[in-house]
């Protein structure tokens, strides 16, 4: 997988982060993501991310589950092997609704989990680069992807002037990465403490 160069800016305050996101975006930089220790309301909006289509996928999985259940039960019980259950009609729809419901939920749930993992590029043995350990604790970590035209040093200065308490340049695997932290990169190698 391809390695890419990123400029990382860490912020310790939401009130600073939001204007900084806006400034970075108006300056034309491409923000890969902002890693936060907790969900920050409105950040997806500020980053200009589009609405996820996960729920559309969920709806399609659900419909698939519904038709699988209804299709298979009706074929089995009404066509292929009709049995008499307590004098009920072969096409006993009310009795099938619970199964149909359960299969709908099952398909939707499992399908959405797998789709979510795929969209986030998560799978067993797939590794993710951690841009900053404190993104899980108390720092908002903004990661900007560098292109050929990006002057990383300038960008670092720009981030610092926008209120970042810490900035650095990292080269990291982007996307599906089947490597190992301990061999391919030493995690938390640098002394990642914030001066302030």
């Amino acid at each position: 997988m391809a390695k890419k160069k990123f400029v990382v800016g860490c912020f310790d305050d939401e009130a600073v982060l939001f204007p900084a996101v806006k400034k970075v975006r108006t300056a034309g930089y491409k923000i890969k993501d902002v890693y936060t220790p907790f969900p920050v309301h409105g950040l997806d909006h500020a980053l200009g991310m589009r609405e996820t289509s996960l729920h559309t996928a969920g709806f399609i999985y659900g419909i698939t589950g519904t038709s699988t259940a209804l299709g298979s039960i009706s074929w089995i019980l009404a066509k292929d092997w009709p049995l008499n259950f307590g004098g009920k009609p072969h096409f006993a729809l009310p009795a099938w609704i619970p199964i149909t419901f359960e299969l709908t939920v099952l398909f939707a749930a499992v399908g959405m989990v797998l789709t979510f993992c795929y969209l986030c590029q998560m799978a067993p043995f797939v590794k993710k680069h951690h841009f900053h350990a404190r993104a899980t604790d108390d720092l908002f970590v903004m990661v900007i992807e560098c292109t050929d035209k990006t002057n990383a040093e300038d960008l670092k200065g720009f981030l610092a002037s926008s209120g970042a308490v810490e900035t650095d340049i990292q080269v990291a695997e982007d996307g599906w990465w089947l490597g190992r932290y301990d061999r391919d990169e030493v995690p938390f190698q640098k002394n990642q403490t914030v001066a302030a």
């Binding site: 309301h41 609405e51 307590g86 009310p94 009795a95 609704i97």
Partner: protein, 409 residues
């Protein structure tokens, strides 16, 4: 908050419209009363009083659901509903008014011994019937009157106390201590209402008022089903008022995000209603015992077939498919449409619950139903409008108001 329009002023048009609706309703009511209500024909009598019964019960329970909404959100320490909480409060002021009408109708039915409506009023039949004598402790006029009085009286009283305490938030800013005490007193009053609500709407009242029409039949799910019906209609009514006031330029602090959450309630409780509808139906269908299937016989296979399944389409398929999308719940036009549809659907549901048992051989839906409906809609618009105008629209100093202002979905 200088730019907030705190005071609702009743537009002239609203007065005219509500008066017109009440007028139409009153005419229908009067014609119905003289041609049917006092008619010597039992069927006509049953038709009139039954129609009146399901309308009064429906509107009382729907308005009462508003107070239930306030109480449960208060108990859950909810903050998001504060920016529009004066609307459910105003709707719940209808409980004493509609409650009195319901009370009058039900007491008249019981006192004048209308055993064609409530079969258990017929003393001779009860004495001969082992099933009905077994239910005598619950289904008897004395208990009916006492429990009905208590139910309507306490809904009104506990709801009134809940609205009363909400007025304190208009007066002065609260410091931490007075705020905490305010929230605590709110919690206690909300808990009292909720407990009483559970003992009445959540269990006994629908059994007593509506299920006992089929005196032999019973379903323990019936009350939950009725509650789900009235609650989803109540949420739709709240949504309609919120949208109306937004369109008139009020409720600046209420945004699409609040509407989204109201829409979620409408969506979720439509599905909850269907869950109960189906649970009740499937168990009876599966067991196929005559004394249980008697309730569904003329609904599923008789003249009520159309209404019965239309009911399921309006109240389940439509909300499920239309309200599922996020953008739909944030769209004023679509939520208005769905709210009207859901209210109509559950009104039809109440219709078939009551009239489906009273008039088994033919569907009575006609001018009388819509006339009386217009009477209640007119009353609701008139009085809710008045009570909205009697108080500020914003609970200005409520400790949780900030949470509602920054609410985001």
């Amino acid at each position: 908050m200088a730019s907030i329009k705190e005071q609702f002023e009743i537009p002239g048009k609203m007065k005219t419209w509500s008066m017109a609706l009440i007028g139409i309703g009153a005419v229908a009511l009067a014609i119905g009363l003289f041609t049917k209500g006092f008619s010597s024909d039992e069927h006509e009598q049953v038709h009139f009083w039954g129609t009146l019964m399901y309308n009064t019960i429906f509107w009382t329970l729907v308005c009462n659901a508003s107070m239930f909404f306030i109480c449960v959100t208060t108990l859950a320490m909810g903050g998001w509903q504060q920016s529009f909480r004066r609307i459910p409060e105003a709707i719940s002021t209808m409980v004493p008014i509609f409650g009195t009408i319901t009370f009058a109708v039900l007491i008249y039915v019981v006192a004048s011994d209308k055993h064609h409506i409530y079969h258990w009023l017929d003393k001779e039949a009860v004495a001969k019937d082992p099933i009905l004598s077994g239910k005598k402790g619950f289904l008897n006029p004395t208990f009916f009157v006492i429990w009905t009085t208590l139910a309507i009286g306490l809904w009104s009283l506990l709801g009134y106390r809940m609205r009363q305490i909400s007025r304190e938030a208009d007066e002065a800013p609260m410091d931490q201590q007075s705020g905490a005490s305010f929230i605590w007193r709110n919690t206690v009053r909300a808990a009292l209402f909720t407990v009483w609500f559970a003992l009445t709407v959540g269990s006994t009242i629908p059994w007593l008022w509506m299920m006992s029409i089929d005196a032999h039949w019973y379903s323990t799910m019936y009350s939950w089903y009725t509650f789900a019906s009235s609650f989803v209609s109540g949420m739709s009514l709240i949504a309609l008022w919120v949208i109306y006031l937004k369109n008139k330029g009020y409720l600046e602090l209420t945004t699409q995000d609040h509407l989204h959450d109201i829409g979620k309630f409408m969506f979720a409780f439509s599905i909850f209603w269907t869950y109960l509808w189906f649970s009740q139906y499937m168990l009876i269908w599966y067991a196929n015992i005559p004394e249980e299937t008697v309730y569904f016989k003329h609904r599923v296979q008789g003249p009520y077939k159309g209404i019965f399944f239309l009911n399921l389409i309006i109240n389940f398929i439509c909300p499920l498919l239309i309200l599922m999308k996020r953008s739909a719940k944030r769209n004023y036009t679509l939520v208005t449409f769905m709210a009207v549809l859901i209210l109509f659907g559950h009104w039809i549901d109440f219709y078939q619950m009551v009239m489906g048992s009273l008039s088994k051989d033919h569907v009575t839906l006609g001018w009388l139903d819509f006339g009386i409906l217009s009477f209640f809609v007119g009353m609701m618009i008139l009085f809710v409008g008045r009570s909205l105008a009697s108080k500020p629209l914003i609970v200005k100093h409520h400790p949780f108001l900030k949470e509602s202002i920054i609410h985001q979905v």
